[in-house]
């Protein structure tokens, strides 16, 4: 079962494609809560790091993660200039609840809608939550699947570590 996969990878390597540690953001459009289309490659935080977090209104650990970060977000921003981008993968069943949930929760994140999971697929996200750290050059330098209590501290250490570099 694994053989064809190994062959594929061997083939790719042999023709000179290198596995890049630093991935770029894909050329995919999402929607803003105001109904505008937005290409995710246009994300910009003036050379400061960004965190992209995939979540959904029905996902308990996702909300736990984003609520935990919300409490320390002001401090994080002051100390590192980081910006958090929350990508909701709610489809049309629960999409209309994203804005009420976000606003009622007092989140200060930039929130986008990926209602047919185009961005989710392009970024290799199979389950939510899934968090990516983007450096000042717009490259993905770290990513993490799932959320357990306390994981936000590891994320913050990662943010600090790319600032030191």
């Amino acid at each position: 079962m694994k053989k064809p996969i190994i062959l594929l990878i061997a083939f790719l390597l042999s023709c000179g494609v290198t596995f890049s540690q630093d991935r770029s953001l894909p050329n995919i459009e999402v929607k803003t809560l105001k109904g505008n289309s937005f290409n995710i490659q246009d994300l910009d935080n003036q050379g400061n790091p960004m965190v992209i977090s995939f979540w959904a209104t029905w996902c308990k650990p996702c909300k736990k993660e984003l609520n935990a970060i919300a409490e320390v977000y002001d401090d994080w921003q002051d100390e590192t200039g980081v910006k958090l981008i929350a990508i909701s993968i709610d489809d049309t069943r629960s999409m209309s609840k994203v804005a009420p949930y976000v606003n009622s929760s007092d989140w200060e994140y930039d929130v986008y809608l990926d209602s047919n999971s185009d961005l989710k697929r392009a970024m290799g996200v199979s389950t939510v939550p899934h968090t990516f750290l983007i450096n000042g050059e717009g490259k993905i330098v770290w990513n993490h699947k799932g959320y357990i209590d306390g994981d936000e501290e590891e994320l913050y250490e990662q943010i600090l570590s790319i600032l030191v570099k």
Binding site: K34, S37, P100, Y101, S104, G124, H144, G146
Partner: protein
């Protein structure tokens, strides 16, 4: 399959030579499950002893060019997958190129028009759903605020494609952007059309070879307000039957309307939707999820706690009328109800009924069209629930849910009327987290469901349930959980069973390993708000997911 893969690899190689900013990445998932026979829960042992589902996605991108493929392996598929998923292959591969506002995709793609009422192609691996299209898709941005999408292709069903050839076009215009209006109120208009060609082979009736559906939508936004409405119409699509009484020449329709208002600390959403004879299939006369090509979202809250989701609502595309209301509120910090950190609540109400007299029917014997807004007495589902989310202090957080649900089991599970009737259940959930020290957290979840039947029924009922879960997590790498569900109130005493599960996992960055052992209950499994019926199982499972 092999030639396809080689062709793609050759393309990748040749592009690699020409391009500088090239990258390759993807993700991988493997699930192994063993099944032990257990007569007490009707779980069957698989002949293969161990079953396996796995896939690997590879995406190669270089400037405006992207190619991707997915290798899938089902040796053999897990019991809760359709057995048509069998063997290995590369059922998903595509190439996309974009230039001057035009994006061209050849091969497989996923697409959705509007809210999906007439067309949605998507995948949900956890549920074994994948109706990717195979064909050509063009997306074009015409000047400011106008975008067009069109495609032609066939819809994936397991390792093959449905017979129907689908053609679709969708346009959207952002009125403010196009006409340069600097108004506070924003208007977005959209329309879509889809048609299916399939050869007829009915010797008795002349049924159409080309059938179609169309939809129009309007989105108005102003400050904290957001209105979305969509109406869809399906031109009649009779089945290939020789029986006059089975023929239905009626058209179908559906609409969805939602209005939302939110501001800091407060949000509300109200929705109404209706579907009548609105099942759209990628191949005539087929049954099963794999052939459904439209999506009518279920009008109830997707619950994440087990006992709240044990009797879940499912959309009846053939006919239903539903309403839903959601209220979100955060009691501010420092107030009586808010405490030190604030308290969040979500109240959700939903109710879904049959259409009066059933869905539209038209043939020589019957001519029925249900009234537009008339609730039939037959209730499919109702749910009233309140969720409270609170951080008590630096160590303690909890989430509590109280719900009252009504579930028309006879109808929603296709039983004979009078077998199980409509269940009325009251459910309570308390989910408490306690932080022991930095990185170490224990979480205790307790749930109870108290059920009663409204109608007189012939079959023995499942009755009351309780559930408890304890989870210990060590951030950022480890988790351990043990849970037990106990059907202590089953009217059939031999079915008062425990469903015990143990799970252990290791996480590192983008890789996750999980091992579990235990009994799974026969029932409905929901991920991301979509549900399917899964058989009981008893055994060991191993899953590995990773992304690179």
């Amino acid at each position: 399959m092999k030639t396809q893969a080689l062709t793609i690899l050759l393309i990748i190689c040749s592009f690699k030579l020409a391009a500088q900013n090239s990258e390759i990445h993807g993700d991988f998932s493997l699930t192994l499950q063993s099944y032990v026979e257990d007569e007490t829960i009707n779980a069957a042992a698989a002949d293969e002893v161990v079953l396996n589902n796995a896939f690997l996605n590879l995406i190669y991108s270089s400037n405006n060019f992207t190619v991707g493929l997915r290798y899938e392996s089902y040796l053999n598929a897990l019991l809760d997958y359709d057995s048509e998923f069998k063997g290995n292959g590369i059922p998903y591969r595509y190439a996309t190129y974009s230039i001057d506002g035009l994006e061209i995709t050849a091969g497989n793609f996923y697409e959705q028009f509007g809210s999906g009422l007439i067309f949605r192609s998507y995948e949900e691996k956890g549920l074994g759903i994948d109706n990717a299209m195979d064909g050509i898709r063009l997306k074009y941005r015409i000047g400011k605020g106008i975008s067009l999408k069109s495609f032609i292709g066939k819809s994936r069903t397991f390792f093959t494609y449905a017979d129907g050839i689908l053609r679709g076009i969708d346009g959207e215009i952002d009125v403010n952007e196009t006409f340069g209006l600097e108004k506070q109120t924003k208007y977005i208009l959209g329309g879509s059309f889809i048609s299916r060609y399939e050869q007829r082979s009915n010797p008795k009736f002349i049924i159409p070879q080309n059938v179609a559906a169309y939809a129009g939508r309007l989105n108005i936004l102003n400050g904290g307000w957001n209105y979305y409405g969509e109406y869809a119409y399906k031109i009649n699509d009779p089945i290939n039957s020789l029986q006059e009484s089975e023929m239905n020449y009626a058209s179908g329709s559906a609409f969805t309307n939602s209005i939302t208002y939110s501001q800091r600390g407060f949000g509300v959403t109200a929705e109404v939707h209706r579907a009548d004879n609105m099942l759209l299939l990628s191949e005539r006369d087929r049954t099963g999820k794999a052939y459904i090509m439209n999506y009518i979202p279920t009008l109830s809250k997707p619950h994440a706690y087990t006992l709240l989701a044990i009797y879940p609502c499912a959309t009846q595309a053939m006919g239903e009328l539903g309403v839903q209301l959601d209220l979100f509120y955060k009691f501010k910090k420092g107030t009586l109800l808010g405490g030190k950190y604030g308290t969040k609540i979500n109240l959700n109400l939903s109710r879904i009924n049959a259409l009066e007299g059933g869905n539209s029917m038209l043939n020589d014997n019957i001519d029925h069209t249900p009234a537009l807004l008339s609730f039939d007495e037959e209730l499919y589902f109702s749910d009233i629930n309140l969720e409270i989310n609170k951080k008590v202090n630096k160590k303690v957080k909890y989430n509590a849910v109280f719900a009252h649900q009504k579930y028309n089991k006879d109808f929603l599970e296709g039983k004979t009327p009078g077998e199980y009737g409509t269940l009325s259940s009251t459910i309570g959930v308390i989910d408490l987290s306690y932080k022991i020290k930095k990185g170490h957290t224990i979480r205790i979840e307790t749930q109870a469901l108290f059920a009663k039947e409204i109608d007189s029924v012939s079959k023995k009922q499942e009755g009351d349930w309780i559930m408890a879960l304890a989870e210990y997590t060590i951030s950022p790498n480890w988790f351990f959980a043990i849970q037990d569900m106990y059907n202590y109130g089953n009217e059939d005493e031999s079915k008062r069973l425990h469903y015990m599960n143990i799970n252990f996992g290791f996480l590192k960055g983008a890789t996750r390993f999980e091992i579990g052992y235990g009994k799974k209950r026969e029932g409905i499994f929901c991920v991301g708000g979509i549900c399917k019926v899964v058989p009981s199982s008893n055994g060991l499972n191993l899953s590995i997911t990773s992304s690179f």
